[in-house]
Amino acid sequence: MLGVFQGLKITIKHFFSPKVTRMYPYEKRVLPERSRGLIQLITEPETGVLKCEACLLCEKVCPPRAITIRYEERNAFRWRPLARPKSKAAYYRPREVAAYPYEGPRPLSPMVLAPVSEADGDDAWLDGLLEEQGDLVGALRAIQERYGHLPRRVLMKLARNLGVSVSELFSSASLSPDLRLDPISDGFVAGATNGDSSALVLPGPQALQAVERQPNPSQGGGASGAE
C-alpha cells in the first residue's frame, strides 16, 4: 500500500500547486512569429494594396488541390514599376462588398475591392434590357442566352443600373434551376503518371497510356473474377 500512499502524496501536492489552465476566450495566446495558422490575403501596411499578384503558385503547389484563385486583369495604381508590360496584378472578388450599402469610409479589410473596371465588353445593351423584358427573370434569361451563364460582372452592372443590391439578383437567379451562375467546365480528370526506369523493368509512357484505357479486370463489366 506504500505505493498507493505515495501516489496520494503526489496528487495532494498537485492539488495545491499553481494551475496551468489558460482561460481561452478571455486570455488569448500570442502566436509565435512563424505560426502558419489562418491563410489570409495580406495587404501592404501603408497603402493597403493587396500583396497577392495572382502568380497562382499556391494553387499549383497545394497538395490537396484546395486553393482555386480567380483573378482579373487590374491596371489600377501600382507602386512597383511593371517588370513585364502586362502585369497580372489581381484583386480577389469578395462576395457582397459591392453592395456595401453605407456611404462613408469603407472598412479597409484585406478583402478590399478595387472599383469595377468599366471598360470591358459592350454592356450598353444592358441599360434598356429591363424595359424590353418587363421583368427581372426575363432579363436574367436574356443575359444567360448571351453569355451562356450569368457572369458576375454583368450582374453587378445590372444591379447598379437597377439601384438594387446584387444579392437580390443572386437570390432570384438561384431560384430558377436553368439559370447558371458558374461557367460550364469539363471537370477534373485524374490520370496516372508515366515514366520508365532502367534498373527496374518499368512501363514506358506509351505502355502506361495504353493501359489506362483498358478497364480494370474486375471493374466496370460485371462481377470481378478474383472475388
Binding site: 505505493g3 502566436l31 509565435p32 512563424r34 497538395p63 496516372a192 503518371t193 520508365d196 526506369s197
Partner: protein
Amino acid sequence: MSEAEILPGQTEDGSLPSVFTEEFSLNLGPQHPSTHGVLRLLVRLSGEIVVDCKPYLGYLHRGVEKILENRTYMQGIRYVDQFDYVSGMLNEHSYVGAVERLMQLEVPRRAEYLRVVVDELSRICSHLVAIGTALLDLGAWTPITYCFRDREEILDLFEELCGSRLNFNYHRVGGVLFDLPEGWVAKCLSFLARFERSLDELEEFVNGNELFIARLVGVGVITPEMGIAYGISGPSIRGSGVNFDIRTYRPYSVYTELGFEPQLATAGDCFARYLVRMAEMRESVRMVRRALEGLPEGPVRARMPHYLLPPKGETYFSIESSKGELGVYLISDGTANPYRVKVRPPSFVNLQILPELVKGQKVADIVAILGSIDVVMGEVDR
C-alpha cells in the same frame, strides 16, 4: 435425441450440464473510448475469459499510397506526416531519408543535428500520449493530464520552430526548412530540465503503485521468439529483452556520434513496455541535450534544384519511430512523382499480435494490452 433437439452445451445423453454457459460476442469499438482511434475488436467471451478476438481495420484508410503516386516528392511530405499523428516529425524523416538515400545525397551536419533534436522531441510527445492513454484506460484520471501538460510545452516549441502543432512539414529533402529562432535553445533546455523532474514524479506515481502493478505485471507477455516471429519492433519488443533499435541496428543520421544507448527491459509484459517507454524518454532528453550543445554551424539545407528529379531506382530506408521500425520502400522512375511508395507502419505490424496476446486473458486486460502495444490508427490504416 435427434440432432436438432440437442441444445448448445448439452451432453450426448441429453442431460444439461450443471452450469449452462454460452459464449457471447462483444463489440469493442470502433467508436470506443479506449481503442486508440477507430479500431473495432469483435471479442467472443465466455464469462470473463476472452475466447477469440478479431480486429477490423480500415475505418481510417485514406489511400495515401495511391495519393503519393500522384504528388511530387515535395508535396508528399504533407501526407506522410499524417500516418502517426502523435509523432509527425518521425514520419517525415523516414520519407525524406528514403529520397536522400536514393539520391545518395550528403545532408549538412547542422540539418542532421536539428533532425535528431526534432525527432527525439517528437518521440517524447508520442510516448507521453501512449503512457497517458494506457493509464487512463486502466482508470487513472490524473497521469494523462500531467503527460499532456508536458506535451503542450513541446508543441509550443514546435510551433515556434516550424509554425504548426500537428502537421509540421518541417523536414525537406536535403535538410530541414527553418533554422532555430533565437532563444529557442534556451527555452528547450529549460523545458528539458522541468520535464525530467516531472518524469521522476510520474515514475514515483506509477512504478510503486500496487494497483498499477496488479493491472500491468504479468499481463500480455511477449516472448522474444514470438515477438520476432510476429515482426514486433520498437518498445514492444525491447520490453522482452530483444536488442532491436534501428538507431543502433542500422545507424542513420548522427545517432552514433551522440552516443545513443537502446533501452531494454526483460519481463516482456505490459509493465516492462511501460518501463521501456519511460527510459526511452529519458534517453531522448539526453539526446536532445547533447545535440543542442554540439550543434555545428553551417547551412540548414543542401543546395537543391527547385524541380526535384531523383534518379531512377529503388531503395528501402527505415528509421526508429516511436512505435517501432518505420520503413519506406521507394521506387522512383526519374519523373517528379514517385512510382511506388510502400510504407511499413510499425503499429500495423504490432497490432497483429493482439489476438494472440488476448486469448485466455480477462476482458479488462484487453484495454491494458492494447494500451501497452501503443497503436495509432492513422498509421495502421494509412
